[in-house]
């Protein structure tokens, strides 16, 4: 099938699809007319039931925590898949790729600016991760911020430090354990005789860092998993540049 024919047929089919979509959308409730009782219920009850002020995270990590377990494992599996697809077999011969190593040195000013930015990013990451039950944030967002802090290390040309951190086996282990510990928290509830992922921690005082029960703990585990997952993916993608070796043809 030629590109052109394919595009033409697709536009006709796509147009019909859009028409169907439009017809269906006509029957949606009008803009701004929230019908569902769920949102109203959660926003009324979340502080009372969970002592958490961030309703979104209360849903993510508590009311519908089981979905988030699945979502976390989607990330875990995707990273496992990327590492498998990009793996270097033990018998792959590599050669030095000089061109990649010989890049011009960055100016010292970039490094000077980057250094404080790195620390601010790390602190910000921890803040976001540990306050998920109070303000928007949580483990997923914190993980991305913390992983990008390490990208700053890479950007200021400290590839050796970057390689030491990201290629460390501890990253892989903490990624796996971060994912598994979510399932373990769920199983802990089961051992206490209540359903999977039921809150088993004290709820604390509303507004306090130590509040919201399971939410903070799960959020921390997710944070570890996501940080490590992003580092693994970044390392898999940059491996050839960082090590300066490419597989021999």
């Amino acid at each position: 099938m030629t590109e052109r024919l394919r595009a033409r047929i697709f536009f006709v089919a796509g147009f019909i699809f859009l028409a169907l979509y439009f017809c269906a959308a006509l029957n949606l409730p009008p803009w701004g007319d929230y019908r569902g009782p769920y949102g109203d219920f959660i926003s009324r009850m979340v502080v009372y039931q969970r002592h958490a002020t961030d309703a979104v995270n209360a849903i993510n990590y508590d009311y519908r925590g089981f979905d988030t377990l699945g979502e976390e494992f989607i990330l875990f599996t995707a990273v496992l898949g990327v590492m498998m697809l990009l793996r270097r077999r033990a018998d792959t011969a590599t050669r030095e790729a000089n061109k990649i190593k010989e890049t011009r040195k960055l100016s010292i000013s970039v490094q000077v600016v980057n250094f404080p930015v790195f620390f601010v990013t790390v602190v910000f990451g921890f803040y976001i991760g540990l306050h998920g039950q109070l303000t928007p944030g949580g483990g997923f967002q914190a993980g991305v911020i913390l992983a990008s802090a390490l990208l700053l290390v890479y950007i200021c040309e400290n590839t050796e430090a970057f390689q030491r951190i990201t290629s460390h086996r501890a990253v892989e282990v903490s990624e796996a354990l971060g994912a598994a510990s979510y399932a373990l928290i769920g199983l802990a509830a089961l051992c206490l005789g209540v359903p999977f992922l039921t809150n088993i921690l004290p709820l604390g005082t509303t507004g306090d860092v130590f509040s919201g029960g399971n939410i903070a703990l799960i959020s921390a585990c997710v944070g570890v998993e996501v940080t490590a997952a992003f580092l693994l993916v970044i390392y898999s993608y940059l491996e050839e540049i960082v090590t300066g070796e490419v597989p021999e043809e």
Partner: protein
Amino acid sequence: MIPASGFSPLPVAVPLLGAGALAAIRRWASRAIADSIGIAFASVTLIFATLLLLHSLQGTSVYWFGNWHPRGAMVIGIGFVVGPIGAGLATLTALITLLSLIFSWRFIDSGGNHFQPLVLVFLGAMCGFVLTGDIFNLFVFFELMSTAAFALCGLKTEEPAPLQGSFNFAVTNTVAAFLVLTGIAFLYAATGALNMAQIGAAIGARHDSLVVFAFTLLTCGFFIKAAIVPFHLWLPDAHAVAPTPVCVLFSALMVELGLYAVVRIYFSIFEQALSPHASTLRFLLMSFGAITVVLGGTMCYAEHHLKRLLAFSTVCHVGLMLVIFSLQNSLAIAAMLAYLLAHALIKSELFFTSGIILHRLRSISERVLFRRGTGLRGTACLWFIGAAGLAGLPPFVSMIGEAGTSQAAKIAGVDGISWLFFFAGSITSAAVLRAGMHIFLGAGENPLTDRAAEVGEMPETTPENKKIFWYHFAPPLFCICGAIALTFLPGWQNVLRDSSSNFANQQAYIHTVYSTGSAASAQPEWNEEIPSAAMHGFFAFIFAIALAVTSVFRAKLPHYLRIGSFLERGFRPLRLMQSGHPGDYVLWLTIGLVVFGSVAALALVH
């Protein structure tokens, strides 16, 4: 002590925990240790799934995660609805996964111990998929299942073909995820609910364009997973390149679960809404199913790459299951599940045997293998027995599915379905027989071939060791024994019929979710249909042998009798459809979606 219904989350939690643990020690563990841990976690999952199944026989239970029970009509958390059908499918999933792991024991290249954790994730996702009663949770497990499947499909990274097959699979199934998610968004916007029972109760008899479009999106999205024509194009490509144990998981479980999701969603959400147009809907679903049977069967016979051949036979049989579902009564659902069970066992057996062939003879192309398998008696037996099972020869359990279908078709007043059974059984069986005659009997001369079979697949095992051990023969033997033994165990059929009557009844489902337990109602028997189904299976097998013979000994036959070789050459438009270009695949599935959606919109709205 936790009551048995407390085990409900364990078929999901145990394999996920195992995947995490295995991934943590992946670099240090030797192959044997990683395999043992994988098998151990799969076995524990199987035990819990079986306990759950035994418990569910006393009545469907609902399990609320986080102890969030519904408030009045509003569901707060996520619920598992554990009935005999869901728990039974979870048990089947755990069993087949365990067999696949045993088959791959220190044998199939594991990609640096990535294989075992990915399989465990796949197992956990499938168990969650069949047990959940929440449509967004269903989507989460759909995604988890797909992610693990994409990676498993591309396990053999040394060649470009697995990456291409995996890529086509990923593109089409991501489109599927988009369709499903959009469908869920429409339903949520209209009802404010994610629990299927709550959505079903909120929609009631409403069947405006929104409900019908959401039905289209969800059904077509899961049809992509279920490989219904024209959504099926990814499937042969993915099967051709995936390692054997992964093919087993795809063909015996994942594809059928796509159809299971369609059935589950239809009977929990849309049954009442679409019931005024039941006959139109039946026509629509039956057309898609019948086209799938015919096209899958025809392409199956035209393939000479053993795994592609088996993959198209899966397409053909899934089409048949869709035809059974389109009868839309509860007996049909029981028949469909019986057929699904039979197909899962027999297709696993054939794929395991193809893995043994690939291991022993280092090739998977029928022409290359010609006369090279004459010494492999055990493998040949397994292959031919599998062929008989595909045709539904008694005493294989597939004939029970056919008997149930005849009874259900009588109730629905539909004729001619047994011809589809005859076609699907005989043509797929003939294709397998033809390959077997060429490979193991060395019959005929100069086998035909096609381009896809000549791409050549690298063996998935290490070349030094062509030896074969008992644990390679054990999984296919177990499947065969299971497929025969189930015919003589009558108890499960009654359970299946009774639980289907609850499963295929929206009011009963909603009632089950909101209260606890439900009474099973009695169902009509299908025993009187078994003799005629057995007869059909027998004739289908005879016809399959005849067809294979006209293919293998074509040179000795007059022109007008060379039906087999005519079919074997394939049809050019059908081959062109299977172009391998992901753009074409997305185009075809868009066309399928638009056709389904337009017919549904014109016929089902008001």
